[in-house]
Structures are given as structure tokens and as C-alpha cells.
């Protein structure tokens, strides 16, 4: 059974067919890249999976259960977490708080228990802290020690990206949807992100779907590449096959006048 399965998805905004007839399966432990020119529908696809938009037609299955129609927080509870293309961190909260909030949905204590600081609540809080530190330590000591207590707005751009990834992991998700994880990063940082994404899979056991424009990153880590153009899936396969596919070249570069 595939971890994530999209069956004939359709979504239109007014007259614009943003996604049409896209089917896709993602197996557990895979790294799948979605590429395509601007406006191809990559982000819309993410928004459909995470419940921000409801598909017009078609179904989304996660671990064999239908999840379309669920609200974003319910989708996250099922085990899908995402990062955003233009960082959406909780800017005025500290790094630690940013990584604690995504664990809130797993809290069993009610608000009264939280106010009274019952032993059960304190245990859960301690556990949340441990998980937060564990996820943040994926990025080495960069976000640890004093950084934990700094508000996000003092962090560098790369550190914010890292915080956002740690935040997505802290939801307890199995599937991470990364929307341009290397946007705005220099080559060195991109290289590091590439390694980290691979470690997410190898050490963290996450399955990863990512949207990316930097082809060297895509080529380096993807098990499978899916190409979208005008909302349709035009190619799928390993990186080498896909980039040499004439349809893909046409989508990116256009057709030569004969």
C-alpha cells in the first residue's frame, strides 16, 4: 500500500484549470521531487494534499484512508506536514516555542489541566520539549543552546528555513512536503540542505515530497521526479530520464521552430 496516493485530481480556479487529472503514488521512504515551470500547479498540488483547497474531483489517500475534505489541521494530525515557500514561522515567538506549537495537537490534557499543571500535563510538556530538542538537533548545534530562546525574527534566513523544517517534523508527521526548501540559500547552504533532506529519510524515517527549482538538488536526492506543466503530469521517472524527455524540455524551453 502506498503511503500517499492521488487519484485523478482536478482543481480549477474560475476558468483556470490549475490541476487536471493528476495521479501520483508515493511509497514509504521515497524522496519524490515535483518540478515544473512557474504556474505549473506545484504549490496548488501541495495545498490540495494538505487540505487548504478541496479538489473538484478525484481522491487523496494517505495510508489507505481518504483524506480529501479534511481541514488542514486534521490532515496534519493524520501525519502530513509541510513547509511553506515564503516562510510562515511564528515570527515573534522563540525557536523553541515554534517547535512546541506543532506538538500541541498531540496534547491529551485539557486546558484546565494545563492551567493547573497536573502531573500528566507536566509529563507531556517535558516530552514535547524532548521531541523539540531532538528535531532541532537534526541541524547540529545551530539552533541549540541560546538560539532556542531567541525570537525567530533575529535569525538568519537559512536558520529560519531550518526552524521551519524542524517545526514540520515536530508535528509527528510521516510525510514531509517541502515547498522549495532551498529557496534563497547560497550554494553551500543548498548543499547542506540536500544532505539534511537525505538524513530526514535515512535517520528520521520520513517520506519526502518536495517542490524545487534547483535542478542539481533535485538530481542529487530524488528517487523519482514528477514534472507538471499547466496542471498536468507530463513526465515521471528517475531524474536522468525525465530531464532528457523531449516533452519536459519543451515545457521548460519551448519548441524549436521547424
Amino acid at each position: 500500500m502506498p503511503l500517499l496516493e492521488l487519484r485523478n485530481l482536478y482543481k480549477s480556479f474560475g476558468g483556470l484549470q490549475a490541476i487536471s487529472n493528476v495521479s501520483l503514488t508515493v511509497e514509504e521512504g521515497e524522496i519524490v521531487s515535483i518540478i515544473g515551470p512557474n504556474g505549473a500547479g506545484k504549490s496548488t498540488l501541495f495545498n490540495l494534499i494538505t487540505g487548504v483547497y478541496k479538489p473538484d474531483r478525484g481522491d487523496i489517500f494517505f495510508e489507505g484512508q481518504r483524506i480529501n475534505g479534511l481541514s488542514p489541521d486534521q490532515v496534519t494530525k493524520r501525519g502530513i506536514a509541510r513547509t511553506f515557500q515564503n516562510l510562515r514561522l511564528f515570527t515573534h515567538l522563540t525557536v523553541l516555542e515554534n517547535v512546541l506549537i506543532p506538538q500541541h495537537h498531540r496534547l491529551k490534557s485539557g486546558w484546565l489541566g494545563a492551567v493547573l499543571r497536573t502531573p500528566a500535563y507536566l509529563r507531556e510538556e517535558e516530552k514535547m520539549r524532548e521531541v523539540a530538542l531532538e528535531k532541532l538537533s537534526f541541524f547540529g548545534p545551530r539552533l541549540m543552546s541560546f538560539r532556542l530562546h531567541q525570537p525567530v525574527y533575529v535569525l538568519s534566513y537559512a536558520n529560519r528555513r531550518r526552524t521551519e523544517m524542524a517545526r514540520a517534523m515536530a508535528t509527528g508527521a510521516k510525510l514531509l512536503l517541502l515547498d522549495e526548501p532551498s529557496a534563497g540559500m547560497n550554494p553551500k547552504e543548498t548543499k547542506e540542505i540536500t544532505q539534511i533532506i537525505r538524513r530526514f529519510r535515512d535517520e528520521g524515517g520520513y517520506t519526502i515530497v518536495l517542490v524545487e527549482h534547483k535542478m542539481n538538488l533535485v538530481g542529487e536526492i530524488s528517487d523519482r521526479v514528477v514534472v507538471l506543466d499547466y496542471g498536468e503530469k507530463i513526465a515521471e521517472g528517475n531524474y536522468h530520464d525525465v530531464v532528457n524527455d523531449p516533452k519536459v524540455i519543451e515545457a521548460y524551453l519551448g519548441r524549436r521552430e521547424e
Binding site: 514561522l89 506549537i101 495537537h105 492551567v115 538537533s137 547540529g140 548545534p141 545551530r142
Partner: protein
């Protein structure tokens, strides 16, 4: 541990001070100001939960306070105050049955019914519950909206709730526009107000620094991100709204018992407006700030009376001069501390010149009749408040406290977010690829939980 002891010591000292104040003569003015600070402080803290921590603008707070006020009034009204209502609007049923005393005696809890204090606490609790119930009813449908739209809807609900007691159908319970008078005042001594205030401080601080408080702040920072991170928006918004409405109801009950009467004008829209001013002044999202803001507003309103006394005109000229010279000095100081150059610009001399001219006029014409005549400035208190608000918005837009809270750590403890010299060095080493080639490979198994 030390911090807990410090907190306990502070509470003890404040309680002792309050006790001494109640024993002294001539402190009734101060005591009533303190009571107002506590009452409005509770309301401000509860509004702060929605407007500051959850980050949604709600303008219906006076409605919840009114419900709390009316419920407390009805439940606490003694028998002899109820009797005249027969001739007025209050229906026989309401007069005979909406009586906490009767309920308690019916349950065989005479010892509570005999103690006006215990009865008052129960009445406040029921008042809070009534307001909270209304909070759910109002919040659940309207919290789908965002921003200005939500503000308008909550304002509308607040006004509807406020005007309901005047409706003929409801007037049978509320005595219509006449309101309810004769609520026992001795039940609302400063002590119950004080303890309620302490409880509210404790409750809201605990809530803010819990997982739920963090979820609220996440919603304030970015609703979409919070939802994507698994925070159930609808549940948390309604939860915050309900808790806030509960304590608004309690504050309304306390205020009704402070005034010993309640009618629909007691809780008009200016109540919400006043609370908004208080929390913006103190810092949206800060409980400490809400208290500071309330204290400033209440003190100016209670003790600003001297500003509106009749004075000879030269006092006005002189204070005008001092104000202008003060503005001159202040602007120079601000520019110096903020390292803006040049420190004094030409336009600043205008303030200095006006101030100097006013000073000279005051000195030279001090015996002229137009200088010695008596004048009175009505409304100076409100102007002073407005000026304070304007200055805060210009020089410290986030309010006195910003989003920070008072804590002992702030005074004594180490700042965790500022790196030590060693950490700073290590950090420079980490982020410099020349000093630390291939950081991510070598640091893989780094247990950095320290």
C-alpha cells in the same frame, strides 16, 4: 524556588499594605481607586486574551460584562430590595425565583446562604458562567470571520446584548431601563476584588505559559501556519473567547457590586473602548502591560481632578511654557540617545522659542487682569490620557511592556537568549565555512541537547 518565594513575599507584602490601608483613616479614595484598578484589571486581562494573545479584534466585551453585572445583581438582591419591584416591571416569577439565597436554602446549604461573602463568590461564578455561555453562542458563529469584519460583528453582538435588558420581554427580569439598584455593597469589599484579581493573574499567567497559550500565540502570529501545524483554529478561538467572556462576566459582577447598581448605561461601548486603550497602552499580549495600562487610566481618571480645578490664567501660560521647553529638551534627548544627527534641528528651536516666549509673557504681564483672571479647563483628564496614548504610539508603539511579561528572571536571572562569550565564539566558528569545513558531516551525531 527562589522566584516562588519572592512571589509569595510580594503577595504577602501587598496584602499587608492593603490591610493597613483599610485600617487607616482618609484612605477611602485610594481604596476605591485600587478597587477600580482590580476590577478593570480583570476585564483588561480577559480582553487581552482575545485581542492580544489570540490577535483578533473583539469589540463586544462590554456585553459580557453587562451579563455578569445583571446576573450578579439579580442573584444577590436582598429581599427588601426585591419587594418594590412588584409595582415596577420585574415580574413576580423573577422576583420570587431568581434568588440565590432561596436556591441555597432549598439545597440545605444554609451556612453559605448566611454568609454574604460565600454567596457573593457563588454569584460571581454563576455570572461568569452565564457570560461564558453567551461567549460560546456569540463566538462560535462569528469567529469564522477575520479582522475588521469580526470586529464589527462582535461590536454588533455586544450592543445587542447591552440593549436586551431594555426590551419589554426581558424587562420582566431586568427591570428595564431603570436598572437594578440596592445590590449589597458590603459583599464587594476590596478583599474579594483583590483576591479575584490575584486569581485572574495566576490563571492567565498559567494559561499563557502553557501549551494552550502557545497555540493562541501561534494563531496570532500566523493563522495559516498554525492550522497547517495541527492547531484546531475553531476550537482554540472559541475556547479563548469563552474563557475571556467568563472573566469579563466576573469583572462585570464585581463592578455592579462596586456601584451597588446596574443598568444598561453602566456598560456602554465606552467600557470596551476604555479597556482597549488600557491594553494598547500597556502592550497588547502582555498581562503585566494590561495591569499597568489599567492602572494608568484609572489613576488619571481618579486623581486627574486637579487638572480641572479653576486656576489663575498665568498657571496655564506657565505650564504651556514648561511643556514647550520640556518638549524641546525631550526631543534633543531622544535624538541624542538614538544617535540621530544633528542633535537639534532648526524645527526644534520652534518649540524652544514658543516656550521661552510664553515664559517671558508670563513674567512680564503677571499683573495684567487677563493674566490673573480665573480659568478652568474642563476635560483636561481626557486630554492628558489622549496625549499619553499619542506619545506611547509614537515612541513605543508596542506599548509599555510590548509582549513581555514581568518576571523575576528579568531582574535577577540570566538571559537565556543572549549567548555567553564562549557560545558566541563557537557560533562564529560554526557559521564560518572556512573555520569549519563540512560542518554537517562531522556534526551528525552531535548530541546538542545541553
Amino acid at each position: 524556588m527562589r522566584n516562588h518565594l519572592l512571589t509569595l513575599a510580594t503577595v504577602g507584602l501587598v496584602t499587608l499594605g492593603l490591610y493597613l490601608l483599610t485600617q487607616m483613616d482618609g484612605t477611602s479614595g485610594l481604596l476605591s481607586a485600587l478597587r477600580l484598578i482590580f476590577i478593570w484589571g480583570i476585564a483588561a486581562i480577559s480582553l487581552n486574551l482575545i485581542n492580544g494573545q489570540l490577535g483578533i479584534l473583539s469589540l463586544g466585551h462590554h456585553g459580557f460584562m453587562l451579563v455578569g453585572g445583571y446576573v450578579t445583581a439579580l442573584l444577590m438582591l436582598p429581599e427588601k430590595e426585591r419587594r418594590p419591584f412588584r409595582t415596577r416591571l420585574l415580574s413576580d416569577w423573577a422576583r420570587d425565583n431568581l434568588d440565590l439565597d432561596k436556591w441555597l436554602r432549598g439545597l440545605g446549604l444554609d451556612f453559605i446562604a448566611n454568609s454574604i461573602d460565600l454567596k457573593f463568590i457563588i454569584a460571581l461564578f454563576i455570572a461568569g458562567l452565564a457570560a461564558a455561555l453567551l461567549g460560546v453562542l456569540v463566538g462560535a458563529p462569528s469567529l469564522r470571520l477575520k479582522g475588521d469584519y469580526l470586529a464589527i460583528v462582535t461590536f454588533g453582538f455586544g450592543e445587542i446584548i447591552r440593549l436586551l435588558p431594555n426590551a419589554p420581554e426581558v424587562a420582566a427580569f431586568t427591570n428595564g431601563p431603570l436598572g437594578i439598584k440596592g445590590i449589597p455593597g458590603d459583599a464587594g469589599t476590596i478583599w474579594w476584588t483583590f483576591f479575584a484579581f490575584l486569581f485572574v493573574l495566576w490563571f492567565f499567567t498559567r494559561l499563557k505559559f502553557s501549551s494552550y497559550g502557545r497555540a493562541f500565540e501561534g494563531i496570532r502570529e500566523d493563522e495559516i501556519a498554525a492550522e497547517a501545524m495541527g492547531v484546531n483554529l475553531a476550537y482554540h478561538k472559541v475556547l479563548a473567547f469563552t474563557i475571556s467572556a467568563f472573566f469579563a462576566g466576573v469583572a462585570g459582577g464585581l463592578y455592579a457590586s462596586y456601584l451597588q447598581s446596574v443598568d444598561t448605561q453602566t456598560f456602554n461601548f465606552f467600557v470596551t473602548f476604555f479597556l482597549l486603550v488600557a491594553i494598547s497602552l500597556g502592550g497588547l499580549g502582555s498581562i503585566t502591560g494590561a495591569v499597568i495600562g489599567t492602572a494608568v487610566v484609572v489613576l488619571v481618571r481618579n486623581y486627574g481632578g486637579f487638572l480641572e480645578q479653576p486656576y489663575p490664567a498665568w498657571v496655564g501660560y506657565l505650564s504651556g511654557a514648561l511643556l514647550m521647553l520640556g518638549a524641546f529638551a525631550f526631543s534633543a534627548y531622544i535624538r541624542k540617545t538614538r544617535r540621530l544627527r544633528p542633535v537639534i534641528e532648526t524645527k526644534h528651536y520652534i518649540f524652544g522659542a514658543i516656550g521661552l516666549a510664553l515664559l517671558l509673557v508670563t513674567v512680564f504681564f503677571r499683573n495684567e487682569p487677563w493674566m490673573t483672571q480665573t480659568v478652568q479647563f474642563f476635560g483636561m483628564r481626557k486630554i492628558l490620557l489622549a496625549v499619553i496614548l499619542i506619545l506611547i504610539m509614537i515612541y513605543r508603539r508596542e506599548g509599555v511592556m510590548g509582549r513581555a511579561e514581568f518576571s523575576w528572571k528579568l531582574i535577577f536571572g540570566p538571559r537565556e537568549d543572549i549567548p555567553s562569550e564562549e557560545q558566541r565564539k563557537q557560533d562564529a566558528w560554526l557559521s564560518n565555512p572556512e573555520l569549519n569545513p563540512g560542518a554537517s558531516e562531522t556534526k551528525e551525531d552531535d548530541d546538542a541537547s545541553a
